[in-house]
Amino acid sequence: MNRGMGLAMIRNLVQRLIAPIDPPLMLIAGLLLLLAIGVMGSASPERLNSQLINVAVALVVMRILAQVPPQRLMHMAVPVYLVGVLLLIAVALFGDVSKGARRWLNLGFMRAQPSELMKIAVPLLLAWFFQKREAMPRLRDYAIAVVLLLLPIALIARQPDLGTAILVLAAGFYVIFFAGLSWKILIGMAVSALAAAPLAWNLLHDYQRSRIITLFDPEKDPLGKGFHIIQSTIAIGSGGIFGKGWRAGTQAQLEFIPERHTDFIFAVFSEEFGLFGNLLLLALYALLIGRGLMIAANAATLFSRLLAGAVTMIFFTYAFVNMGMVSGILPVVGVPLPLISYGGTALVTLFVGIGILMSIHGHRMLVQK
């Protein structure tokens, strides 16, 4: 082999490797990952290496999914959903208890958190479901979709894991919304949801209720339940316009911010990079979401559209719920800041979503051709 051939082969290989990757999505996700590495280096430098490994794994998963054609995903929808539900039932029966919640399933060789799977499995199944109803979906179809959605949510909420339940519910709702459920019914559902709120209140665990109570008046319990929110709002507020500088946030460095490498990492970021940092972060998320919605708008099939739209909106839900809770306008639920918080599971889930978006974008022409 001469050198020219070798180079060509390598170039060929690289091209095949990056071909399914959507450059704008990759660019935005890459910038967010850079921010993530920066914040992690301040919030918890000792975790930087293991988070880099998580990033590598997530990128591989993304790359694999980017190549999987949407039709294949559609075929996987039902089995994945069924496996997910079965695992959730198994968790309810045999799961490990940690911090008062039964979320983990010990598979002997690893511990799995099946609820995480449902964030993708539920929109996948519902998108498949609406694709199968070839005709204009009727009300009965929506009813079935709601049942398919609520089954895993009930199991997750029972664990209890309010954060994941909300994310899965949102993911499913987005599919139904994009599928075209009429505004009348949507508004009717919103009204009845409000009416059912007192009922739901009774079903909540004490710690979930207290989180909601604390949200409205965190100062009531400054050393207990309100501590998280008070300290994170102090961190954000004291950051000011330009922030205190990287690794110079007193709230973060002196450990006043709880869970500062996971759910409250935004407080660290915001304290050290200020309003400008926040604006940058919001802009990156908005671009990511905008690109995702664009992919959805141009997707080839109903399945692809619904899936792309829902997956995109999951990113929004993560980002909004997390920043809203850390800045004190939403209750504290366990939702990480997408692509930034420490933790492999959520990162992989999110890159599965990005991979799916890339796949849908890459295959947008195939059917029409």
Binding site: I236, L254, L279, L302
Partner: protein, 630 residues
């Protein structure tokens, strides 16, 4: 796809996407507004709160001032020791924590009891010691196990120590943990900031009276702390200023000799330097060990001290009020001379009793002392002389003169909570009783007042003060324990006294009469046995105060229960011509003054004037009989 219009469907889908996109922008705008609110509009507020979080003012407790005797002997000092402390609010199961601690550090039942008492008296967020004076080994052991005990910590603290133990405890007093009453005092003087970090406060004695002198100025350290409250680094420091030292007028050696002279008897002794009012010794026995109170007294010791029939917590010198008995007679005589009711040489015939309205007030000596002048009335302690004198003077004259001598009033000594005693007068009786028939003063009641009985009740310090006034030719100096305060910052001495409080305007020749008679007491009278062979001329007067009234029967010490026996008293000053010391001694249930009280006075005067140290407590002189008393 023939059932639906794909184009229309796509349009609708895209409109839904647009709605979703709009919703995203709306929500992000909400977040942005929130960020602007927190980071621009409320920035200053949160900046301050972040600084408050970060910076902690840690008080540095100053060294408490020392208490020294007049020769510089240390009576109260401080030492630094490690304590093991628990903050109850930071623990879940207190008992379990203590049990766990007991596994690695020696925690005894009395430590637990003391801790429980502290717990009842304190607020939950305070850090309370479970063990004090940890050894280095114990500190190391605990640190190795610290992770197991949240809310438990080792602290280095300064402790008060009274090296003499129970010695002089009633004058020194003690410090204890700050309670609500102390907080009020601190707030009353607006000293809250200065008391941040201070957890002890003077409770009695000099420690209480001079609390704000002894305390000093708290220093502060500005430290950066993390969320766990651990100091990360020091930003600024203001050094504390140690409290001022007290130098007393008290002579510790004299005090010790006086205390030991009592043996195991109860009583009080107050010795004053007449020319200044400085107290040379202030004894109240039994006493207690003030060290017990420093790190919180345990319930058992507390109960024992409070419930003991000997009442060791009572400062008898200031709070015990006793009838003065015959020690009252020199003051009566001086009063008579001053108001002109007697001349020294005026003779009275004593048949052994005084008849008042058909009632016989008996003299101790059967058949009486015969013809008695003022000198003899004091030297022989003739009761009849004073029955008659009291009757002649009347209660108004008596109470007004005794009032001038400071009897029945607080002396103003620099220890709080002194008792007033009782100076009987018409006014006093009106106030004391409720029923109109009891409020009236009967002339018959005046008779026994003359020999120091009846309603008369004075504290030993009042008797000592009155004696000092006589010794000092009628000029009163307020009795005080502190000679001067040394300002730690400047080293300057701030003298407390002496300023003559008042001059009674007594005539020198009157005082000479009394002095001569009191010298006679110790030379040829009731005090002669106790003062035989003394190398100095002293003036004294014995007294015996009735505890229990024996109707008609003769008093025999052996025949009465100990706690009903008479109190023995003695007042004295010496050297008689130029007194440097005046004192009053009281021995509770000691019997005759000559037997029990005078020998104690002799030991004190011997040491003070001659430097002679006794080799045993003053023996009760069973052979001495006060034939003239009761």
């Amino acid at each position: 796809m023939e059932f639906k219009n794909p184009q229309e469907e796509l349009e609708r889908f895209r409109s839904r996407l647009a709605v979703a996109g709009g919703f995203v922008l709306f929500c992000f705008t909400l977040l942005f507004i929130r960020f602007v609110w927190l980071q621009i509009i409320q920035h200053d507020y949160y900046q301050t709160r972040a600084e408050d979080n970060r910076i902690s003012l840690v008080p540095i407790v100053p060294n408490r001032g020392l208490i020294l005797d007049r020769n510089g002997v240390v009576l109260a000092r401080n030492y630094s020791a490690y304590t093991l402390e628990i903050t109850p609010s930071k623990t879940l199961d207190l008992e379990q924590i203590i049990d766990g601690l007991a596994g690695i550090i020696d925690i005894q039942l009395k430590d637990r009891k003391r801790f429980r008492k502290l717990l009842e008296e304190s607020r939950n967020f305070e850090s309370l010691p479970i063990r004090t004076r940890l050894t280095d080994e114990e500190v190391a052991k605990f640190i190795a196990h610290r992770y197991r005990f949240p809310g438990v910590d080792i602290k280095a603290r300064l402790f008060r120590q009274y090296p003499g133990g129970a010695f002089a405890s009633h004058l020194l007093g003690y410090i204890g943990r700050v309670n609500d009453g102390d907080l009020e005092k601190i707030e009353g003087r607006e000293e809250e900031a200065n008391y941040r970090g201070t957890d002890h406060f003077g409770k009695t004695g000099l420690e209480q009276h001079y609390e704000f002198e002894l305390h000093g100025n708290t220093g502060f350290e500005q430290v950066e702390v993390d969320a766990g409250g651990r100091a990360v680094r020091t930003l600024a420091r203001t050094a504390p200023v140690a409290g001022n030292n007290l130098t007393l007028t008290v002579d510790a050696e004299l005090q010790r000799i006086a205390e030991q002279a009592f043996g195991d008897r109860k009583g009080a002794l107050v010795a004053i330097e007449p020319a200044t009012g400085g107290i040379l010794a202030l004894v109240a026995v039994p006493n207690y060990d003030p060290n017990l109170f420093v790190d919180g007294i345990d319930t058992q010791n507390w109960k024992e001290l409070n419930e003991s029939p000997d009442k060791p917590m009572v400062n008898r010198a200031l709070n015990g009020a006793y009838p003065p008995g015959s020690t009252f007679k020199p003051f009566m005589a001086l009063g008579a001379l001053t108001v002109g009711k007697r001349r020294p040489e005026q003779l009275i015939s004593d048949p052994g009793f005084f008849n008042f309205g058909g009632h016989h007030f008996r003299d101790d000596k059967k058949g009486g002392h015969g013809m008695v002048d003022m000198y003899k009335s004091i030297v022989a302690s003739c009761d009849t002389y004073y029955y008659m004198l009291a009757n002649d003077m009347g209660i108004d004259n008596i109470s007004s003169f005794m009032g001038k001598l400071g009897l029945g009033q607080r002396t103003g000594i620099d220890i709080d909570g002194e008792s007033e005693g009782v100076l009987p007068s018409q006014e006093w009786k009106r106030k004391r009783f409720k029923k109109p028939e009891q409020q009236k003063w009967y002339a018959g009641e005046t008779i026994s007042i003359g020999i120091g009985q009846g309603y008369n009740a004075y504290t030993p310090i009042q008797l000592a003060q009155a004696t000092a006034i006589v010794a000092n030719n009628g000029v009163l100096f307020r009795p005080h324990l502190v000679n001067f305060i040394t300002d730690t910052r400047t080293g300057k001495r701030i003298p407390i006294e002496p300023q003559p409080a008042r001059d009674l305007g007594l005539k020198a020749e009157h005082i000479d009469v009394i002095r001569n008679a009191m010298v006679g007491v110790n030379k040829e009278g009731t005090g002669a046995r106790a003062f035989a062979g003394a190398g100095y001329v002293s003036a004294g007067k014995t007294g015996t105060a009735q505890v229990y009234s024996l109707k008609g029967a003769d008093y025999r010490a052996g025949g009465v229960k100990k706690e009903l026996r008479d109190h023995a008293l003695f007042i004295a000053f010496a050297p008689a011509d130029k007194p440097t010391i005046a004192l009053a001694v009281l021995v509770e249930n000691g019997g005759f003054g000559a037997q029990a009280a005078a020998p104690i006075a002799r030991q004190v005067l011997d040491y003070y004037l001659l430097g002679k140290r006794p080799n045993a407590p003053a023996p009760a002189d069973e052979a001495a009989v006060e034939e003239d008393e009761e």
